[in-house]
């Protein structure tokens, strides 16, 4: 089964999206 991680750009975009999600979580719920 193919996943976004099979392509380099899919991996990079997934990392950027995860960064935004973790930023919002950290800024709103951890401080």
């Amino acid at each position: 089964m193919k996943t976004p991680l099979d392509s380099i750009w899919g991996t990079i975009i997934s990392g950027l999206v995860l960064t935004v999600i973790l930023y919002v979580f950290t800024a709103n719920f951890l401080h």
Binding site: I8, I12, G15, L22, T26, L30, H31
Partner: protein
């Protein structure tokens, strides 16, 4: 003085680890497909990959240990608060958790499976193909995690408490 030396060595070790992670993902894995097609992959598997993996996995150890040591010695943030995601340590703590998951991936998933792929641990072709797929996905997962990991590592000292976007 002591803290800046630990931080400097932590970053040097991190460059070694993540630099080789990017080498595997952006250079070696796509290059291996081309090398297999013209019958030159054997040299990479025999001479390049084992050396790269040696520096990769021990770079991961050095990075994690030096990072932990920094958190234990630093005055404004702490190891416990970082991993409990508390207060001013929470930002770098998110980076520390991501780095810890990546460190686990290296030693528990990538390296044992790469040993099968490279023939260090003898196995049949079907198991080798499965190991290659698992190692590939774990390596790509680490590449994905490295993006927020580096953000939170640098945001901790530079931004402290993160401003809300909305």
């Amino acid at each position: 003085m002591e803290l800046i030396v630990i931080r400097w060595l932590h970053i040097l070790a991190g460059i070694t680890w993540i630099g080789l992670l990017y080498y595997f993902n952006f250079v070696q894995a796509p290059g291996m497909a081309a090398a297999k097609a013209d019958g030159t992959a054997g040299g990479i598997s025999k001479h390049i990959a084992p050396r790269a993996l040696l520096w990769f996995r021990w770079g991961a150890v050095a990075t994690w240990v030096l990072g932990a040591l920094y958190l234990f010695r630093a005055g404004n943030i702490s190891f416990g608060d970082a991993f409990m995601l508390r207060g001013a340590s929470a930002t770098i703590g998110v980076g520390a958790w991501l780095g810890t998951v990546m460190f686990f991936n290296v030693w528990v998933i990538i390296w044992p499976n790469q040993k099968k792929v490279l023939g260090i641990v003898p196995t049949d072709d079907a198991a080798k193909a499965r190991a290659a797929r698992v190692a590939f996905l774990a390596s790509r997962t680490n590449t994905m995690l490295s993006i927020p990991m580096v953000f939170f590592m640098v945001a901790g000292p530079h931004m402290g408490v993160l401003p809300k976007l909305f």
